[in-house]
Every structure is written in structure tokens, then in C-alpha cells.
């Protein structure tokens, strides 16, 4: 399957620059997820790869061939649109076979292919219905099926699950992950949902404001975010950020802030030996804060519970730490009361530090 490379890809709408030099390389059979907040240019990037949007500057290479001047059909890709973009006047079978019929493939081959794909997606019963007579989830599968019947090297998905309700989305996400194992193809998947990104991706590309913030495996991005934006974007509930100062206290390197002073690990101290002391933003994920009434002063935060969100076995507690907001997770059966101050031990290995000005990781 082809190898896709974006080099300094730029998109302008008139004076307004939407993408500022995107550099990206997608390996063979890789599932790449472009993720980022609304308006960051994900769809634009995907549509440029598809050939639905002109390239203002830079180049797209497919197998080292520049393709930005080629028509979509010459690029050998299939796409699933956010609004599905089914042909309303054709039934499901016709929709799925459209590309094959344009290529004038033999009827037997088309029928066999449709049968295969319909079986895989559970659409066999609906082959003779028009899109208007299907539910949202079924339409979504037809859109997927239309892409699958074509034997293209690359699949593009633009938020294919965003129109589904939460339960169906979870179900389809699992089905996608399953399909991913059966279909060895390049996949480029756009979403603003970080859970989809984390569960599906071989490689996540986090975008913000028309720039790539960071790319890597889900684990890399989760464990070693390069800046505050990526750190806050991935993970649920999101990472907590606390303002403080980097300072040496009693021979240990600490982050000292209003109402807390956390000691960093020895490795961190060595790594930051020459870093300037002074204001930093500290990040710590809810999962790295554990309820520990007996923890020592330099390893824990004292948090006053403001709101408790019950979500089943776990509750999310929104707490106050001397004026700064901190979210933690706690087993729901822990007896606590609102307004109570609890002590949470912080995993020193999992403390992230960011420059207050540039928001880059230290």
C-alpha cells in the first residue's frame, strides 16, 4: 500500500491562512489519526490529500510521486465523509457499487464484492433500500461499505462517527478497530474525539491552529506530550494544570505553589539541574493522583472537594487546591463529603512541567 508524504503543505483561503506548512509521513498500512479542536484544519488537510481542495503551497507525495495537480480519481483513494455523502437516488447496493460500475467491471465480480462487504458490515438485509430509508448507523456503514468495495490503497475518513449517538459511536468504534485488523490498508482518520484517536491510531497527529503540535504513537503522546496543548488534549478526564515555581527546597527539586509543594523524582532533578528556577506550569493527570490520607507532605496534594460527578464505579471529583481547579478520580464507595479536604498522593514519575511562557514541555 502506498506511502503518503506531505511536505510543507500550506492552505490559504484568500488572505486567510488555514494550514501553515504541514509535514507528515504516513508509513505503509498505518492508521494515522488527525486530531484537534474544531477549526484546526484537519478536514482541510484530509480534503487536500483527497484532491477535493487545491494545494496553495507545498506538495503531496504518494509513493514519492507528486500528486497535488492530479484529479481525485487519479489518486487511488476512497473516502468516508462526515455526512456520509451517499447518493440519495441509488439503493445501498448501487451506492456501494458505483465506483466499480464506472470502471465497467464484470457484473459477477461486482455482485460478489458487494456481497462480501455487505456481509462484513451486516448490510445484507438493506441492499435494496435507499439511504433515506436507513437509520444513521446503517447509513454510516453504507458509507464505509462504499469505500471498502473499492480496492484503493488509501482510506480517508472525515469524522465518520460524529453524527452517531454515544452508544452507537462506541459500538462503531469497536467495529472499526475490528475492520482495521482485517483490512490492511493505509487509513487516515480525522476526528476531534481524543478517545477515538487513542483507541484506533497507530499514530496520532495532534493539530492546533493549522500547525502540527506533535505526532507519535498514542502512548508516546500520552506519556510525553511536548507541550501543554497536547497534554491537555489527550486523556480523559483531562490533565490538571497547576501554576507554581520550580525551586530547590531542602536539597530537593520541588514545584512549589499555593498550598502545595511536590518533590520531583531524582531523574527529573538531574535532567533539570541547569534549568532556571522560577515560574512553571505543572501538569498531572487525574489517574496519577491517588487517594492516600497518610501520604507525606512533599508527595501529595490537599484537595477540597467541590463537586462529585458520579459515573458508576468511579466518581470524578472536582476539587479546589488553594484557588486552582484539580480533577481526580476516586472509587465511588469511598466515604467522602463535599467540602471535605482530602489528601491525594501524586506519582512523581508522572509530573509534567511546562514553560509558563512558551508552554513547551521542560
Amino acid at each position: 500500500m502506498p506511502n503518503i508524504r506531505l511536505e510543507n503543505l500550506v492552505k490559504r483561503y484568500g488572505e486567510f491562512q488555514v494550514l501553515h506548512g504541514i509535514n507528515l509521513e504516513m508509513k505503509e498500512n498505518e492508521f494515522t489519526v488527525l486530531v484537534g479542536p474544531s477549526g484546526c484544519g484537519k478536514s482541510t488537510t484530509l480534503r487536500m490529500i483527497a484532491g477535493l481542495e487545491t494545494v496553495s503551497d507545498g506538495e503531496i507525495f504518494i509513493d514519492d510521486k507528486p500528486v497535488s495537480h492530479l484529479e481525485p480519481k487519479a489518486r487511488d483513494l476512497a473516502m468516508v465523509f462526515q455526512d456520509y455523502a451517499l447518493y440519495p437516488h441509488m439503493d445501498v447496493a448501487k451506492n456501494m457499487s458505483f465506483a466499480l460500475r464506472l470502471e465497467r467491471r464484470p457484473k459477477a465480480e461486482i455482485d460478489a464484492k458487494i456481497k462480501d462487504v455487505a456481509e462484513m458490515l451486516g448490510l445484507t438485509k438493506f441492499l435494496h433500500r435507499k439511504p433515506g430509508e436507513l437509520s444513521g448507523g446503517q447509513r454510516q456503514r453504507v458509507a464505509m461499505g462504499r469505500a471498502l468495495t473499492r480496492n484503493s490503497g488509501t482510506f480517508l475518513f472525515d469524522e465518520p462517527l460524529s453524527n452517531l449517538d454515544a452508544k452507537l459511536r462506541g459500538q462503531m468504534r469497536a467495529e472499526l478497530a475490528l475492520m482495521r485488523q482485517k483490512v490492511q490498508k493505509n487509513m487516515i482518520y480525522v476526528t476531534h474525539d481524543q478517545i477515538e484517536a487513542m483507541t484506533l491510531a497507530d499514530r496520532i497527529v495532534v493539530m492546533h491552529g493549522g500547525y502540527i503540535q506533535q505526532q507519535g504513537t498514542p502512548e508516546e503522546l500520552y506519556k510525553r506530550p511536548v507541550n501543554k496543548f497536547v497534554a491537555g488534549f489527550l486523556g480523559s478526564p483531562p490533565m490538571n494544570f497547576l501554576e507554581g515555581d520550580l525551586a530547590d527546597v531542602d536539597g530537593r527539586l520541588c514545584v512549589q505553589g499555593q498550598g502545595f509543594c511536590l518533590a520531583l523524582s531524582d531523574e527529573r532533578r538531574q535532567a533539570l539541574a541547569n534549568a532556571p528556577r522560577g515560574p512553571v506550569t505543572m501538569g498531572i493527570r487525574p489517574a496519577d493522583l491517588t487517594y492516600a490520607p497518610d501520604a507525606g507532605d512533599n508527595t501529595a496534594l490537599d484537595l477540597r472537594v467541590v463537586v462529585s460527578e458520579y459515573i458508576g464505579a468511579q466518581s470524578v471529583l472536582i476539587c479546589d487546591c488553594a484557588g486552582q481547579k484539580v480533577e481526580v478520580e476516586l472509587k465511588s464507595d469511598t466515604p467522602i463529603a463535599l467540602g471535605e479536604t482530602l489528601r491525594f498522593a501524586a506519582n512523581a514519575q508522572a509530573i509534567h512541567l511546562f514553560d509558563r511562557e512558551t508552554e513547551e514541555a521542560l
Binding site: 481525485p72 480519481k73 473516502m79 440519495p88 437516488h89
Partner: protein, 309 residues
């Protein structure tokens, strides 16, 4: 059933009543009047009550009247030719001009101007243009070095062509704007999907755009067809039906039967025949689309049954 709930059920009809009354007077009364008149031997000097009732004689006379038959044939020919040409040119133009280029909105406005001109003026305008010596067409033809101009309005074939051209000129814009509106409301992403699926521009037109526009196009076609069967002014001004009967469409004949021959009953009978023809067309179209739907539903049901086994 309680009185209250009965009153409740009657309320909608109460609200509908004024509209129904107006409809009865404004629509049904004139039509009823015309139908009744078609059974009379009635001249404008008589009041309708004084006219003799002659049953279906007006109709039987008409069916034997070769001149009426000729008119009828001319009308059908005219309607078929102009509507076909207008549909092709109108939809074609819409396909060409459905893009965002600077100045396109001005161009579109210019395109729909002919439709806004009063038909009498259109007739007069074209009559001058078709003038055998000073008209623009013949002057151009002569300046190109041809000896003879075209006898636009004095030859029976050419005069038919002349009225067709004038009508196409005036009414193509109608189809153009409706087709353009339909085209701009097409789902854009479906067309993008077709791009990705590898459709050429032509395939996108024939396989996606036209089928999706079909409901609008059919209504447009019906409206134009009904209108084309009733054109009067332009032809009256241009040729007044001549030479001979070559451009005497039914509407013109009705007008002359009433005006010149003073046969109101016969004119009413002709109108009724035209009305029935148009109604047959409309009903035919309606049933055709119902039939299509039913067939699709049947096929779907059959297919699903087959799968259930």
C-alpha cells in the same frame, strides 16, 4: 361522542370554509360556466339564457372540422418542439453556469431578462427582427453575401420556425433558473464522493445531477408544457396564425372563433378540449410517478422477502 369533542373535530372545517367558498366562486364557477357554454349555440349579442341548447353538437362539429384538426396538430407540434428545445438549452445552460466565477450573478440576471418582457412586446420585437428587408436577420444574411433573405414570416415552414425561436428565446430562462436553483441545492458532498469514486464530469451530470434534479425538472416540464399549449400573444403579433394555418395554434383559433366568427359556444368547446388534453397530461404524469414509486416499493419488498428466506 361528546358535544365538545365533536365541535373540536369540526373546527378545522370551519376555518377552511371561507377558502372553500372563494375557491368555488373564483375557480369552479368560471369553469362550470365555460362547460355549460360549450353546449350552447351562443353569439355575443345574446345573453347566456337566450342561447339555444344544442347538446354535443359543438363538439361533433369540431371533430369533423379539418381546420380545427390542423390547429390541434400545430399546437401539439409547437408545444413538443419548444418544450424539448427549452428543456435541453435551459438545463444545459444551468449546467454550464453553475459555478462561482466573478460576474456570474450578473450574467445570470441577464439570462432571465427575456422572461420579464411582456409577450406582446416580445412579439413586436421579433416581428421587426424578422422583417424581410429591414430586419436584422435578413440584413445580416444579405451582408454576408447571400442574394435572398429568408422569408421568415411569409413561408409556412419558416414561420413555424420563427415562432419557435421567439418562444424558445423567451421561455428558456424560466427553465434555466429553476434548473439552476435545483442544481445549487444538490448535496455537494455527494458530488465530491462521485469525484472520488472516479466519475467524469459527464458521468456526474448524467448519473448524479440529472437524476437528483428529476423531480424539479418534471414539474418544470409540466408547467412549460401547459403554458406552451396556451401561447397566444407572441404568435398573434408575429404571424396571426399564418401563412395559411401553419402557425394557427388552438388558443389563437379559440380567440378568433369568439372574436371574428362570434361563435362563443364553439370557442368554449375548443377550450374544453384543450383543458381535457392538459388534464390528461397532468393526470398521466401523476400516475406515472405513482406507478414508479409503487414498482420500486414492490421490488424492494420482493428483495427483502427473498433475503428473509
Amino acid at each position: 361522542m361528546s358535544a365538545a369533542s365533536r365541535a373540536n373535530r369540526l373546527t378545522p372545517y370551519l376555518f377552511l370554509a371561507p377558502a372553500a367558498v372563494i375557491l368555488a366562486f373564483a375557480l369552479l364557477y368560471p369553469i362550470g360556466y365555460m362547460v355549460y357554454a360549450s353546449f350552447l349555440d351562443w353569439s355575443p349579442s345574446q345573453r347566456i339564457g337566450e342561447a339555444d341548447f344544442i347538446g354535443l353538437r359543438n363538439y361533433t362539429n369540431l371533430l369533423q372540422d379539418a381546420a380545427f384538426g390542423e390547429s390541434f396538430w400545430v399546437t401539439i407540434k409547437f408545444a413538443a418542439v419548444v418544450v424539448t428545445l427549452e428543456m435541453i438549452i435551459g438545463v444545459g445552460l444551468a449546467l454550464l453556469l453553475d459555478r462561482n466565477i466573478k460576474g456570474m450573478s450578473l450574467l445570470r440576471t441577464i439570462f432571465i431578462l427575456p422572461m420579464m418582457i411582456a409577450p406582446i412586446v416580445v412579439g413586436l420585437m421579433w416581428r421587426y427582427m424578422y422583417h424581410p428587408t429591414v430586419g436584422i436577420f435578413n440584413r445580416t444574411i444579405k451582408s454576408l453575401g447571400f442574394e435572398e433573405g429568408i422569408p421568415w414570416l411569409s413561408d409556412s415552414t419558416w414561420s413555424f420556425i420563427a415562432v419557435v425561436i421567439a418562444d424558445v428565446w423567451q421561455w428558456t430562462p424560466f427553465i434555466f433558473i429553476l434548473a439552476l436553483a435545483a442544481m445549487q441545492s444538490l448535496p455537494r458532498s455527494a458530488l465530491e464522493a462521485a469525484d472520488i469514486d472516479g466519475a467524469t464530469e459527464w458521468q456526474k451530470i448524467t448519473l448524479i445531477k440529472i437524476p437528483l434534479m428529476m423531480p424539479v425538472l418534471i414539474v418544470t416540464l409540466m408547467l412549460r408544457l401547459i403554458d406552451a399549449f396556451k401561447v397566444l400573444e407572441v404568435i398573434m403579433v408575429l404571424t396571426n396564425g399564418g401563412p395559411g394555418l401553419s402557425t394557427e395554434i388552438v388558443a389563437l383559433r379559440i380567440f378568433r372563433t369568439a372574436q371574428e366568427f362570434q361563435e362563443l359556444g364553439e370557442a368554449a368547446a375548443m377550450s374544453n378540449i384543450l383543458l381535457m388534453l392538459l388534464m390528461a397530461l397532468t393526470i398521466g404524469m401523476f400516475f406515472y410517478s405513482k406507478l414508479q414509486e409503487a414498482r420500486a416499493a414492490r421490488m424492494r419488498a420482493a428483495a427483502e422477502q427473498e433475503e428473509a428466506h
